[in-house]
């Protein structure tokens, strides 16, 4: 049965839902956060203690009140998108969102125009973003990056490798975070490029790890079903003077495996087939990346190519290749360096333009592989649970560090938002439209909301401390740990510019859009559970 909800119930219901998600998240803001306990789904298991805003929001699902749940969904979606794209500042976004929404509702309840308010809120958001840009400070060098990582994750054993890794690999490098299953956290750099998806058939690996020197490379997304599918490639490799072959393919049949093994045993020609990396739409791009790296040309089903017409010039080549059950790596691809540089430039542009976080991440991953090196960080701990938590922490920190390397840092503690207030006041000017005045008021409330939450969580008096902060120099603020006014950047109280800007933009724009919601429609009844008796 469909149910339709109109004003004023709409605003009130959304506010209640938003509050139920934002309030627990607000508690996690700052260096002295409260913790949220989630009951376990399993009997007898201890509750899970969380202090990460996006994860908390994600876990608060299906509020009892369906109208309110739609408000909660708006926040959940915003925070999860931020978590995936920038890895940080989600609690700040939650607090900003609620402040803007609540202030906006007051105005709209008095008969204001939602569309005009939305327009001015978005305009004000752009102003705030521009102000944040002026305050941003670049982070250069290993020492500075390590300090930034330490401020992000409060874990010196993780901060040190992260600082070093980002000093070497910059914003686009491929970084794998793996569980160490020991106490130590260690890291290593891998020369060349590697992909997950090792040998397609274990029989092709006479040892757990096979290394081929100066092999030819075949790149295709075909399934190789008959020996005749791959025989021309072997012949082409032999004509090119090669004694080994790496085959990227979708799959190989038992008969093709037997054919390759027979060639290895009888002719001494070693061939290893590995799974073509990536799936669906990314696969063509990845095959093109491979071709840029090793030369030759990829054979792609969608273009109507056939491996049976392969020539020696179609083969790629590399200085060395390694394959095991899980990974395949290439070192010293012999592709045309200029084509590889062109491909890197293309991918950089695409990463910059990509709006979808998942797509951006996939493109960044492809770009990292083309750069020719990677790092593996093995995260340790004393218990499996600690390792899991530190691994999650490291993964989030890596995303945030990418933004820091590219766009720098801002003074933290909510102070950079407070310092946007004069620019916001200048924007208002006079005389101003009533909707602009309301947008200004909503944004003014919102700009101080994160700092208030941090101070409140730390047991400080927000109003008195904010008054003291406003009298300080722009780069100074209150350190709730030492209870002193400090230079925020020197004290390591920082925010990633990229993450903070994404949080500000996402929160204000989403809240402004949410203010235009007048009607809620429920098209289905919630599922009911029939219990016996």
């Amino acid at each position: 049965m469909t149910r339709v909800v109109f004003q004023p119930q709409t605003y009130e219901a959304l506010k209640r839902g938003i509050h139920q998600v934002v309030e627990p998240v607000r508690m996690t803001l700052g260096p002295l956060p409260r913790v949220v306990a989630f009951s376990s789904s399993f009997d007898g298991e201890a509750p899970e203690l969380l202090d990460k805003g996006s994860v908390i929001a994600r876990r608060i699902t299906q509020l009892g009140e369906r109208d309110a749940d739609m408000g909660a969904m708006l926040v959940r979606d915003l925070l999860w998108r931020l978590h995936k794209s920038v890895g940080d500042a989600t609690a700040t976004a939650a607090v900003l969102f609620e402040a803007v929404y609540n202030a906006g509702v007051h105005y709209l309840a008095a008969g204001g125009s939602a569309m005009a308010l939305r327009q001015f809120l978005n305009e004000g958001a752009q102003l705030v973003l521009a102000q944040l840009d002026t305050m941003s400070v670049p982070v250069i060098g290993e020492a500075a990056l390590t300090r930034a990582a330490a401020a992000l994750c409060s874990d010196p054993a993780l901060a040190q490798p992260l600082g070093e890794i980002f000093a070497v690999l910059d914003a686009y490098g491929q970084i794998d975070i793996r569980s160490s299953y020991s106490r130590e956290t260690r890291w290593e750099y891998i020369d060349g490029t590697y992909w997950t998806g090792g040998a397609l058939k274990a029989e092709l690996l006479p040892t757990p790890r096979v290394e081929l020197q100066n092999p030819a490379v075949v790149m295709t997304d075909f399934a190789l079903n008959e020996p005749g599918d791959i025989a021309p490639a072997l012949e082409a490799a032999l004509r090119a003077g090669k004694r080994s072959l790496l085959i990227f393919a979708e799959s190989i049949s038992a008969s093709v495996t037997a054919f390759l093994l027979a060639n290895r045993d009888q002719a001494g020609f070693q061939a290893v087939a590995v799974k073509t990396p990536d799936q669906f739409k990314d696969r063509m791009g990845t095959l093109n990346d491979l071709a840029a790296l090793v030369g030759g040309r990829p054979f792609i089903q969608a273009t109507g190519n056939s491996l049976r017409r392969i020539q020696s010039a179609d083969l790629g080549a590399a200085r060395s290749v390694w394959v095991d059950r899980d990974y395949v790596g290439i070192t010293g691809g012999k592709g045309d360096a200029r084509l590889r540089q062109d491909q890197v430039t293309r991918l950089r542009t695409q990463v910059t333009l990509a709006e979808d976080p998942d797509q951006r991440e996939r493109l960044r991953s492809r770009l990292g592989k083309l750069m020719g090196g990677s790092a593996v960080l093995w995260v340790g701990g004393t218990t499996e649970r600690e390792i899991r938590q530190r691994k999650l922490l490291a993964e989030n920190a890596v995303e945030t560090m990418r933004g820091i390397v590219q766009f720098g840092i801002l003074p933290g503690g909510g102070v950079s938002l407070l310092r946007c207030q004069p620019a916001l006041d200048a924007w208002l000017g006079s005389p101003a439209d009533i909707s602009q005045r309301m947008a200004h008021r909503a944004l003014s409330d919102a700009l101080s909301a994160p700092a208030r939450a941090i101070l409140s969580n730390a047991g400080c008096d927000p109003s008195a401390t904010l008054a003291r902060i406003s009298a300080e120099a722009p780069d100074r603020g209150y350190d709730v740990l030492t209870r002193q006014m400090v230079n925020l950047l020197d004290a390591g109280i920082i925010e990633s510019t990229a993450a903070y800007k994404a949080a500000v933009q996402g929160a204000i724009n989403t809240a402004a859009a949410a203010l235009t919601i007048d009607v809620l429609v429920h098209t289905r009844n919630p599922e009911t559970v029939l219990e016996p008796g």
Binding site: D191, R319, K334, A337, R338, S374
Partner: protein, 273 residues
């Protein structure tokens, strides 16, 4: 007089080194007489040496598959093998804190301990064909490749493309004032004071094979011509012309200048009257 192929010359502390097809040689009398430095190794066959870098008593020599390393001016040698397959070493550079080796197909190898251990360091080096290397004491390094110039600000651990692309870079050097000189295969000799973007073309000659600098001057070879500059590479003059191409160049801080013609080393006065 040796007649086998001469790959490179290097001058340091009043001594001249020649990397040749038959091995590494040193002259202590400005090139008049030469002594073979690999004699302590007792080799049965000649060991081709493609490049050499010297700093004090430390000598690094590029040989097939790695470098020979001596910390006592060539009295004893250790072979430092690089990763397989064996790379072809094209360039070596040494500073107080850094040793870098460039290779024909495997990019750059970096040694943090004066040439004892070597690791490939190629993140961002999109062209593994390295033709020239130079490094500054503060950790700045440049790699000239077959497709342009790459820059490292962390002692060769990672590399960034510079705006200087699309032309093979054959020779590199820092002047005494830190100006970067870049010799190319077909686009002449360029200089940059910022080492980032203020590139200025300094010579009309398209092909610049070698560059060597002293405290007061810079020298370059353009096929059959020896060029010199006394103003940090701003202006260059043709100092000598020869009938055959110059295949190697080395300048010494104390004054003399050496070139190789037809695999023979010749001593020149840097600025004859």
């Amino acid at each position: 007089m040796m007649s086998d192929t001469l790959y490179a010359l290097a001058a340091a502390d009043g001594q001249l080194y020649a990397a040749r097809e038959s091995g590494l040689y040193r002259s202590e009398d400005r090139g008049a007489h030469w002594s073979a430095l690999y004699e302590p190794l007792g080799l049965d066959t000649p060991l081709p040496t493609t490049c050499v870098a010297v700093q004090g008593a430390l000598i690094l020599a590029g040989v097939p598959g790695g470098v020979l390393h001596s910390t006592d001016a060539g009295a004893h040698w250790q072979f430092r093998r690089f990763t397989t397959p064996a790379p072809f070493i094209t360039a070596l550079t040494l500073t107080d804190t850094l040793a870098l080796a460039g290779t024909l197909e495997d990019g750059v190898f970096c040694s943090p301990d004066g040439g004892i251990t070597w690791l490939p360091q190629n993140y961002g080096l999109l062209d593994p064909c390295v033709l020239a290397l130079t490094a500054a004491p503060e950790g700045m390094a440049f790699a000239g490749t077959s497709s342009g110039l790459f820059r490292s600000s962390n002692g060769g651990r990672s590399w960034q493309q510079t705006s200087f692309q699309r032309t093979p870079v054959l020779s590199l050097a820092f002047t005494s004032e830190g100006v970067l000189l870049v010799g190319t295969e077909s686009a002449g000799l360029w200089r940059s004071r910022s080492q980032v973007d203020d590139w200025q073309l300094s010579t009309p000659q398209p092909l610049i094979n070698h560059i060597s600098v002293t405290q007061t001057a810079a020298f370059a070879t353009a096929e059959r011509h020896l060029l010199s500059s006394r103003n940090q590479g701003q202006t260059w003059y043709v100092q000598h012309g020869f009938d055959t191409p110059i295949t190697a160049l080395a300048a010494s801080s104390s004054g003399p200048l050496w070139i190789a013609l037809n695999d023979t080393v010749h001593l020149l006065q840097p600025f004859p009257r």
